[in-house]
């Protein structure tokens, strides 16, 4: 093998005082070779971004390297002056980030931001810079690059912005590209495109890519080699195939096991069971930005004539990318949003027509679990009250409601003592359990889980999904599971509805959809799932 372009030796990066541990990166060593993609994988807080940032000299304030070295072209970049680092950045080592919206200056045109890279290193004339900018944008596959060059970042889509970032990073043909979770904020189909782009560019130019991600699917898709990090240390490293197929470290094994498997089982057919929820002709349009006299409003058809049925004890997945209207459907069902038309029959009542006390009463039967474990619990209420509030609002006495809360906490595997504590004392996964307990407090028959595990790390995700499946069985709940993550849907759902642009484009049993999607969009969606090919290959 050739010499590494970047060699990290015993790197130690210290966290400021008062952080949960002393070192973000603790005695980490790895090499990056030309022409390879090295994935650094880990859950949030594992310190996976820090070594990359250290290589760029872009660590956050108060976080500094305290030991080890980062050798690039024979010198330790940790010892370089800021001026020397400036020469390196952009030219030799380039970087792209997770959130392409905030990574671009909102007030500058895209071409100017690309041209700045040349300016920073005193290359080309201003006119040539603009020309190169457009060439680069063409290269990274931005449609109509002349027009896009004149645009401001907010006028581009998320995928296009990330392409702009990539164009910028590639401008000076650096030998190393550091990609810090570059696809996490993107929809799955866009993610697939960007991954392909990075892969292609890397191959064409023979760059070394350090790719930081939390998603083993992505790793499977793109990595040549993998380093797995936990608590600031590398616990396992090796070629992608070795690590994925034959993980050695317990932590790696756990992580990989927690990934929802795509193979949806041909579960018990729900047909024949009594439907508990029937949705017919549901419509919702948003009107934005109009005013009485002066401007034309923009109309978005968020939910477009949606029909669904949910049988007792069944789990229905609603999947789609952002903006597909999947969340709007969920919110219309519980009347957090007022549908324009359509019926939502829940155990005989039309939810869409109720109001006031009748609505409050009907809602007891249909509850919701939310996405964000931090935003879904009132930070100023104790857990006991959070759970007991619902029953109390419906006339249950305080003692009884708190008694029930204790039982519910036990049911979601939390200590009963939790009732006297505040939400911030719990971890994300625990909070999500509290959220589930709250939803169960009113003894609903239908639960809508809106991206209920999307914000959780993969290992926690698996636990929560198991809990949901278990509860569903025990309490005979019907579940509507709204998610953008097809793997999750595949694992938990009996049936799946695929949504695009407000419409349901395909419904059917989960295994049917995954194995034999009928609509073109469903097929694209499923093919874009990272790591799918590898998994299928492995499954043989």
């Amino acid at each position: 093998m050739t010499d590494p372009v970047l060699s990290i030796r015993n790197l130690k990066v210290a966290l400021p005082e008062g952080a949960d541990r002393d070192f973000a990166v603790n005695d980490v060593s790895f090499d990056l070779y030309p022409g390879e993609i090295l994935c650094i994988v880990g859950e949030s807080g594992s310190g996976k971004s820090m070594s990359a940032n250290a290589a760029m000299g872009l660590l956050p304030d108060l976080v500094r390297p305290v030991g080890g070295e980062i050798i690039f072209e024979g010198t330790d970049v940790l010892k370089l002056s800021e001026a020397q680092m400036m020469k390196l950045r952009g030219k030799k080592v380039a970087m792209i980030f997770q959130e392409p919206m905030s990574a671009l200056n909102p007030l500058m045109r895209v071409e100017d931001q690309i041209a700045e890279v040349f300016e920073a290193h005193n290359l080309l004339t201003p006119r040539d810079r603009a020309k190169r900018a457009i060439e680069l944008m063409t290269e990274v596959g931005i449609p109509d690059p002349e027009k896009a060059a004149r645009a401001y970042p907010f006028q581009l889509s998320g995928g296009q912005r990330q392409r702009v970032m990539i164009a910028m990073a590639l401008a000076l043909e650096p030998s190393i590209l550091i990609a810090d979770e570059p696809t996490t904020a993107l929809d799955v189909t866009t993610q697939a495109q960007i991954l392909e782009l990075i892969r292609n560019l890397q191959e064409e130019r023979g760059m070394a890519v350090m790719f930081i991600t939390h998603d083993f699917g992505v790793v499977a898709e793109i990595a040549d080699r993998v380093a797995v990090m936990q608590y600031g240390k590398i616990v396992e490293a090796g070629t992608a195939d070795d690590v994925l197929d034959n993980p050695q470290h317990e932590y790696t094994r756990k992580l990989i096991a927690a990934i929802p498997k795509l193979a949806a089982e041909a579960g018990a057919a729900a047909a024949g069971k009594t439907p508990i929820l029937e949705v017919e002709g549901l419509n919702k349009t948003y009107v934005t930005g109009g005013s009485l006299l002066f401007s034309k409003p923009r109309i978005v058809h968020a939910v477009n004539n949606v029909n669904l049925t949910l049988a007792e004890g069944e789990t229905l997945g609603i999947v789609g990318e952002s903006g597909s209207g999947k969340s709007s459907v969920g919110r219309c069902l519980v009347r957090l949003m007022q549908p324009d038309s359509g019926t939502v029959r829940l155990a005989g009542h039309d939810m869409a027509q109720l109001s006031g006390a009748a609505l409050r009463e009907a809602r007891k039967s249909i509850q919701m679990i939310f996405q964000d474990p931090y935003a879904s619990l009132n930070p100023r209420s104790k857990v006991g009250r959070i759970i007991a509030e619902g029953p109390m609002a419906h006339g249950v006495s305080k003692t009884e409601a708190y008694g029930r809360a204790v039982k519910l906490l036990e049911m979601v595997d939390l200590d009963a003592l939790a009732i006297d504590r505040y939400p911030h004392e719990f971890s994300g996964g625990q909070r999500q359990r509290i959220g589930i307990a709250r939803a169960l407090a009113l003894e609903p028959r239908v639960i809508i889980a809106d991206e209920a595990v999307s914000a959780l790390d993969v290992s926690i995700q698996a636990q929560v999904l198991d809990l949901l499946a278990d509860l569903k069985e025990r309490l005979n709940l019907a579940l509507i599971f709204i998610t953008h993550d097809l793997r999750v849907a595949a694992q938990i759902c009996d049936r799946i509805a695929v949504m695009q642009n407000g419409k349901v484009v395909e419904t059917g049993p989960a295994h049917a959809i995954f194995n034999n999607p009928q609509s073109g969009y469903a097929r694209t969606l499923i093919e874009a799932i990272p790591g799918r090919e590898k998994e299928l290959a492995a499954a043989g």
């Binding site: 809602r363 919701m368 879904s376 009132n378 959070i386 619902g390």
Partner: protein, 279 residues
């Protein structure tokens, strides 16, 4: 609480501010003990220079009244007006902001037009008109200050409520069958407290400045010795008696400074956004 105090005391300015404010409060509370005679009493010859008589260390004014006693009683007025008018402004601003933010739609429109309207009229000019119309008295001054200073509260609360309203725990509360009033009072408003406390501490400072400006223009309560009044009364004699306007001005400056420093400290302590920056 200990955590709060930790974060607060990490801001050196805030601790200085708190110390200053405690002194001002002590002086205000102890004024009747320290200076049993009325601050209006003509105790010495007019225009006694400061530091010339131990008994009247800051000298006397145009009528021979004790300046330091006036400062002590003035602290009472400043703090009283600052506090009460801020509370009054909160009582106007919070409900308006909460209703507008929570219910949105036409109610938001109507209430925000109303708020905007009060923001458009130059506030100090409006305060002058109001005090003049109600005739200067402690009540009219407090009312006027409250009336011109509630819009920022309403806007802040509206903004907070607007973002909290779509918070998932509020939606959960809706689904659990709680009424709008319960949700506003128990789920939403308690979570707006931190920014309101910060704003309120700054509003007390602004109110003290406003009261002193009104008194300076002769629109103070004529039966209460206030710092603004002292400066206003001293303006015409500034050439022969600089100390008459100098000391009350320093008193206002220090009190307002103290409140601003405390406001910043509270902001650091209650708003963990900055605290998180290091991670």
């Amino acid at each position: 609480m200990a955590d709060f105090w930790n974060r607060f005391s990490r801001n050196r300015g805030a601790v200085i501010g708190l110390a200053l404010l405690v002194i001002v409060i002590l002086v205000a509370v102890l004024a009747p003990l320290l200076f049993p005679q009325s601050p209006w009493r003509m105790v010495q010859r007019p225009f006694l220079a400061p530091f010339s008589m131990d008994q009247y260390p800051l000298g006397t004014d145009a009528l021979g009244r004790d300046v330091i006693s006036g400062l002590a009683y003035g602290a009472q007025v400043s703090l009283l007006v600052g506090l009460v008018s801020t509370v009054a402004a909160l009582l106007i601003g919070i409900p308006i902001g909460a209703l507008a933010g929570y219910f949105g739609g036409w109610m938001d429109d109507a209430l925000m037009r109303f708020t905007e309207f009060f923001q458009t009229v130059p506030s100090f000019a409006l305060a002058i008109v109001l005090v003049a119309i109600f005739e200067p008295s402690i009540q009219s001054i407090i009312a006027a200050i409250a009336i011109v200073s509630w819009p920022p509260v309403a806007r802040l609360v509206r903004g907070e409520v607007l973002s909290l309203r779509s918070r998932e725990y509020v939606e959960a509360a809706i689904l659990s069958g709680q009424t709008s009033l319960t949700i506003i009072l128990r789920q939403v408003l308690p979570n707006t407290i931190s920014p309101i406390i910060v704003l309120a501490s700054l509003m007390v400072a602004t109110a003290i400045l406003l009261e002193s400006s009104l008194s300076f223009l002769g629109l103070g309560d004529p039966n209460m010795m206030s710092w603004g009044y002292m400066i206003g009364a001293a303006r015409t004699v500034i050439r022969q008696a600089w100390w008459l306007s100098f000391f009350p001005g320093v008193a206002i400056l220090l009190t307002v400074l103290a409140l601003n420093l405390i406001g910043e400290g509270l902001n650091d302590a209650l708003n963990p956004r900055l605290a998180r920056r290091g991670k």
